[in-house]
């Protein structure tokens, strides 16, 4: 009797281990190992063909070359700006989906947010380029409406990058926001209104505190996606994109400088970790709560 029980327990553990094995293997082989390896790579320096020594040269290059940390800071700031804009755009949409639209209408709105993801990011971004390029649809429309005399180039500006990033990130903000707004009891809003609250004060005192985990989750996801985005900033930003992921790509692929690329990669990882930590601190949220919302 006890023996069979022990066997059964052992058997269940084995099954559990087998079930988890692919995920753990995946995690280990494709995430942890490469990162360890990158970490080691970032601490070496090429002295001669196929000769490397341990050194901090890659990090020194980063801090010594204003060019690189300028791009780094710029990427961080634009990502933060894109996150804030995404929040501003997504909030009303999420509000409509969660509170105003019913049944089919809210499903429809969700689908509208989803549509951009039915095509690959490349196609989506190329679509933007066709719309915005000088010989594209939007500049022609502007001329047609008499807003500009000549077709203007709408590509390759920071604003274009932001538009593209917000568009790409919208869904990732809307989903956690809808989740947290749906769980907000309408009676709380009515009660606040009944007690003399107005739109803004209710938003500030009731809605935002309630939705804070959702907002933080959305912001973290969007910020990380934006920071790590490569295609949208490089394609829409063109010659002026100056996105840090592009630097990493360049170092790895066109410069064959894996050491520098690895160091850049780690700096980006540190940046996103720091920003997430900062975001949690500022909003007073706990990581586990937030991730459950995401």
């Amino acid at each position: 009797m006890p023996e069979t029980a022990v066997t059964a327990l052992w058997y269940r553990r084995l099954v559990l281990a087998l079930l988890l094995a692919p995920a753990l293997l995946w995690l280990f082989a494709l995430i942890i190992l490469p990162h360890l390896d990158l970490a080691l790579l970032s601490f070496r320096e090429r002295v001669a063909p196929r000769q490397y020594v341990v050194s901090l040269a890659q990090y020194r290059t980063f801090f010594g070359e204003p060019l690189y940390w300028h791009v780094f800071v710029r990427t961080a700031l634009l990502s933060a700006l894109a996150t804030a804009l995404t929040l501003l755009v997504a909030f009303p949409i999420a509000w409509i989906i969660a509170k105003l639209a019913r049944g089919r209408m809210s499903a429809l709105l969700f689908v509208v947010c989803l549509i951009p993801f039915w095509v690959s990011e490349t196609v989506r971004t190329l679509g933007w380029m066709i719309l915005l390029r000088e010989s594209g649809v939007l500049p022609a429309l502007l001329v047609h409406l008499g807003i500009t005399r000549q077709p203007v180039e709408l590509l390759y500006h920071d604003a274009t990058i932001l538009v593209g990033l917000v568009y790409t990130s919208l869904l990732f903000m809307v989903v956690p926001l809808v989740g947290s707004l749906e769980s907000l009891d309408n009676a709380l809003i009515e009660a606040a209104y009944d007690l003399g609250g107005k739109g803004w004060s209710i938003l500030r005192e009731i809605v935002i505190p309630h939705a804070a985990p959702g907002i933080t989750a959305g912001c973290i996801v969007v910020f990380m996606l934006t920071l790590g985005n490569y295609l949208t900033p490089t394609l829409l930003g063109g010659k002026n994109s100056q996105w840090f992921t592009e630097q990493i790509y360049t170092q790895f692929i066109t410069r064959f400088n894996w050491e520098q690329g690895a160091a850049f990669g780690f700096l980006l990882l540190a940046l996103s970790t720091a920003m997430v930590w900062l975001g949690l601190k500022i909003s007073g949220q706990r990581f586990s709560d937030v991730m459950r919302r995401a």
């Binding site: 494709l30 390896d37 790579l41 390759y156 063109g238 064959f256 400088n257």
Partner: protein
């Protein structure tokens, strides 16, 4: 080696990709995996090769940098034949050991144009062993829309009236071109790191100052072709085949040999260090170097091949365009010598600064 685990992970990825991408097959000898440029392996030629040899060709499209990076990541595995430019073989081989030497006894060397073979021999020999054979060559010069502007040399792209109307690649050929235009031959300074660095920095400044003129830095041929066709770009640095193609569509668009000289490139055959089907690779090289096959390839690419006698079979229109662009033949053309390793790092820093310029 430190990066063995990264290599492992990449291998897992590649393996998954290959498993997913190709049907199960019995025999490595029946498949030839080529990493090459667009249009270099026409479907028609692949079909004929298969009929003759039973070997199936799988093509992966790429460019110089990606080719090196991919082979570096796998330690030279994953492909049986690569087609890097002749100047990019030596440095990559010294640094990463991604190729294996060619066994010239397995190739019919007399099919190759001797001058081109000699160029590759000079640039791609390491330790007395040859690592590349010539395949296709061409030039990079200037293309412009004569309805809009007129240019004759690289620095004309920086004329004030061309603001926002030109395009170049943010890569080393552009640095070479502007160095030539400044009156210094960069290739002569390959051995003198200090002088070379100074030259590159000066070129970088010129390009940074010219940045407002560049509408974009293009990554692929199509991006530029579209820009020229849409009339957004008036003048650009361009490969001859692309320039001639545009000229055939629209006679107002001209491809010219710049006053400082077009830069000639040559793409090669090279064997990845851990390829599985060397026999297939040699069979392919011998096959495509037959004049009638080489002519088909040339038609697909729009450039001349290194196969002897194939230019006689070349499209007469392209031969006419070549004659118009280079009335003095190949006299004012600069061939890329092999790049010593380390130079690309200097160039990289300069290119980064151009990118960051306002």
């Amino acid at each position: 080696m430190i990066s063995s685990s990264a290599r492992c992970a990449l291998m897992v990825f590649l393996a998954l990709g290959l498993l997913a991408g190709t049907p199960a097959r019995a025999d490595a000898a029946k498949v030839l995996r080529i990493i090459t440029w667009a249009d270099y392996v026409p479907a028609e030629v692949v079909a004929q090769f298969r009929k003759e040899t039973g070997i199936q060709v799988e093509v992966t499209l790429s460019n110089n940098e990606e080719m090196i990076s991919k082979l570096r990541a796998t330690g030279g595995a994953g492909f049986d034949l690569a087609q890097p430019s002749q100047d990019r073989i030596l440095g990559a081989q010294q640094e990463f050991g991604i190729y294996k030497p060619l066994d010239t006894s397995k190739v019919r060397l007399d099919e190759f144009v001797p001058e081109l073979l000699a160029t590759v021999r000079t640039n791609a020999t390491l330790g007395g062993r040859l690592y590349g054979l010539p395949y296709v060559w061409g030039t990079e010069g200037l293309v412009y829309n004569s309805k809009r502007t007129r240019i004759s040399d690289y620095q004309d792209l920086c004329k004030p009236e061309l603001r926002g109307r030109t395009a170049v690649r943010l890569k080393r050929p552009t640095l070479m071109a502007f160095a030539l235009a400044s009156g210094t031959n960069p290739f002569a300074l390959y051995g003198d790191t200090k002088a070379y660095t100074a030259l590159m920095q000066q070129v970088g400044k010129t390009l940074a100052a010219c940045k407002a003129n560049f509408r974009f830095f293009y990554d692929n041929k199509d991006q530029l072709l579209n820009g020229m066709r849409a009339g957004e770009i008036y003048a650009a640095m361009m490969w001859d085949s692309g320039g001639w193609a545009l000229n055939r569509e629209n006679p107002d668009i001209k491809f010219i040999n710049p006053r400082s000289g077009a830069i000639a490139w040559m793409d090669t055959f090279a064997l990845p260090a851990r390829g599985r089907n060397d026999a297939g690779a040699y069979a392919w090289i011998n096959f495509v170097m037959r004049p009638e096959i080489a002519a088909k390839v040339a038609r697909s690419i729009g450039n001349f091949t290194a196969a002897r006698g194939a230019d006689q079979l070349m499209d007469p229109r392209i031969r006419a365009q070549f004659a118009a662009t280079f009335p003095d033949g190949l006299k004012n053309i600069k061939w890329y010598p092999a790049i010593p390793s380390g130079l690309e790092e200097i160039e990289g820093g300069v290119l980064d600064r151009v990118k960051a310029a306002d």
